[in-house]
């Protein structure tokens, strides 16, 4: 046997690759970005300390920033509950004994794997005045708007597009549904519970961990919407789909105001952090963990 000291420390060798890249590409930049957010760095020259000026400017003298926050809030407020309800509904539908279940599951799930520039391209086409979406609406007698050129309808268009990607959420729910012990339903039946009461008193409570998880993930995701905002609407028309991350991108990498963009990054980071911590705080009141004491 080798020396004990070697044994004690050799484990670190296994995690060394992560540790090195972490220090180099994550921790270093993380600290640097706090510093940069208090400077006027512009990618050339040296950063100059400006104190809290960037933060003051963000909230007092940057209409686009305020607009981007409002836009992102709007998106979050509709997208998150919308996608959760729809995914829940689809998961319930798929969790029945039904012929061809894998086919339906694939149809609902596939769009969430292909998400990216390619499907954003596709949606530009679908959202044209004579595109598929409006043809569909035409079938039920609705005269669809010109989604992408209207500052009223561009955001709903992106939200509509987001519902196409309910797959991941739906699969999480489906897995959770299949993990509910059958005997709970049987016990409820014995007690005379009908379909709706079983749903409300058995299914929903047992699903709360999954509902909580997807709520956290979806809210974090909403604050980081970027690809569709750049490709489909490019922030427009008239900044109606200017998301906060798109604003950061333009400020930092098109106008090269990197000190200022770092301040945006930090505000965004704090917003995400606050939302997540809040959710974990509230979670204790409504999320049911079976055998929670073991955790």
């Amino acid at each position: 046997m080798r020396t004990t000291r070697w044994q004690r420390w050799s484990g670190l060798l296994f995690i060394a690759p992560w540790l090195i890249t972490f220090l180099w590409f994550t921790l270093g930049p993380f600290v640097a970005s706090i510093f940069l957010s208090f400077t006027n760095y512009r990618f050339i020259g040296l950063p100059e300390w400006v104190g809290a000026d960037n933060y003051v400017r963000l909230f007092t003298d940057d209409a686009k920033f305020i607009r981007s926050i409002i836009n992102t809030l709007y998106y979050t407020a509709v997208h998150v509950p919308g996608i959760m309800v729809m995914a829940f509904f689809v998961a319930i539908l798929l969790n029945q004994k039904v012929k061809g279940q894998p086919i339906y599951r694939t149809a609902f799930y596939l769009p969430s794997v292909t998400a990216g520039v390619a499907t954003a391209y596709l949606w530009i086409l679908l959202l044209q005045p004579n595109g598929l979406v409006n043809q569909f609406l035409g079938l039920v007698g609705i005269d669809g708007p010109n989604w992408l050129t209207s500052s009223t309808w561009a955001m709903p268009a992106l939200i509509l597009m987001s519902f196409w990607g309910l797959g991941t959420t739906m699969i999480i729910y489906l897995a959770a549904l299949q993990g509910i012990p059958q005997h709970l339903y049987e016990a409820a039946s014995v007690d005379g519970a009908g379909v709706i009461r079983k749903m409300w008193h058995v299914t929903v409570p047992m699903m709360t961990p999954a509902i909580f998880l997807t709520a956290v993930l979806q809210i974090i995701g909403s604050w980081q919407v970027f690809t569709q905002a750049l490709i489909v609407t490019n922030g427009g028309p008239r900044d109606s789909t200017l998301f906060i991350l798109l604003h950061l991108y333009r400020t930092g990498f098109e106008y090269f105001q990197m000190g200022y963009a770092s301040a945006i990054a930090w505000v965004l980071f704090v917003i995400i952090l606050v939302f997540t911590v809040l959710q974990f705080g509230i979670a204790r009141r409504w999320v049911y963990y079976e055998g929670a004491s073991e955790r």
Binding site: R8, P17, W18, F22, P29, Y121, L122, L125, N130, V195
Partner: protein, 304 residues
């Protein structure tokens, strides 16, 4: 994941086969109706979700003139197969595919291997600071990319890495926090006696990792590899920022480059052909490895 009847919703016809009274016939009819509505919603919904893909194929086979016909032809006749040969002329598409392939390949192979190695260290080995460092892994998992991106870009400039694939590749050599986390959780489920027995036989830790833990973890490794491929292939924000020259781009950024060009309206059909080329590997992989996707999601979602 198999379909299972759950006693929560729709009545199955089998249950209602007993009675012959009028009342039970009514119940039967109602159940049949419910069943029909159920299938209608399910099939209708699936079709709605699948149609955009067919629309993509259709548009990629339309000539540019067909886009302006009123009404647009439902099926492009004749199909403009030449879109798929013309598409290579609009930009260095072959380079984009090559670059995306390089990054995705290294991410899937080296990235997954190192994530597993690090996860093994966290799950099976004792060293000072193991717990604290693992907490750090979890926190970086939740750290949004945009917080670090600006200093990273400055760092890459100092290293002369901007406009090369290095910023996409080198950070991979440390593994990815999310996959480290997933694999560690999986490794923890394997009995520790295996390692101890091998150690008594004189096997080194590296040997234990490679000949015992890795083979037993094939399903988890496969899941991570599949997810890693998809995320690298679809990655957009980061490569968009570090890459610039047209022939250095990845496929996703290349598509943006095409769109930002001046002839946008004139080549919708070619854009759709490229989009289809970009989506194809993901769709094919999905069908080949469907169970890994489903399990992976369940793993991340429920066990996490």
């Amino acid at each position: 994941m198999t379909a299972r009847t759950v006693d929560s919703g729709l009545p199955s016809a089998a249950l209602a086969s007993g009675g012959r009274t009028i009342r039970s016939r009514r119940v039967q009819a109602l159940q049949l109706l419910l069943r029909a509505v159920y299938y209608l919603i399910l099939i209708g919904g699936s079709v709605m979700y699948a149609i955009p893909f067919f629309w993509m194929i259709r548009a990629s086979l339309m000539s540019i003139d067909m886009f302006y016909e009123v009404p647009q032809p439902l099926f492009p006749d004749p199909p403009a197969w030449n879109n798929y040969t013309d598409v290579w002329q609009v930009g260095p598409v072959l380079w984009w595919i090559t670059n995306s392939t390089i990054v995705s390949f290294i991410g899937v192979t080296v990235g997954t291997f190192i994530s597993a190695l690090v996860a093994f260290g966290f799950a099976r080995l004792r060293f000072p600071g193991n717990r604290a460092l693992f907490l750090l892994v979890i926190s970086t998992m939740m750290l949004p990319q945009h917080v670090t991106i600006i200093p990273q870009v400055i760092l890459f400039r100092e290293l002369n890495w901007l406009d090369t694939l290095l910023p996409l590749i080198v950070p991979l050599l440390g593994g990815a926090p999310f996959y480290i986390f997933l694999l560690r959780q999986f490794f923890l489920t394997l009995p520790l006696e295996l390692d101890e027995a091998a150690a008594i036989d004189g096997a080194s830790r590296m040997r234990v990792f490679w000949t015992i833990v890795m083979p037993l973890s094939k399903p988890a490794i496969a899941t991570v590899a599949v997810f890693s491929f998809i995320s690298h292939w679809n990655d957009f924000f980061f490569p968009l920022i570090v890459l610039q020259s047209s022939e250095r781009l990845t496929l996703a950024v290349g598509m943006r480059w095409l769109q930002a060009g001046q002839y946008e309206a004139q080549r919708l059909h070619l854009q759709m052909a490229i989009a289809l080329i970009a989506v194809a590997p993901v769709v094919i992989l999905f069908f080949l490895a469907q169970k890994h996707f489903i399990r992976g999601i369940a793993l991340t979602g429920i066990k996490g």
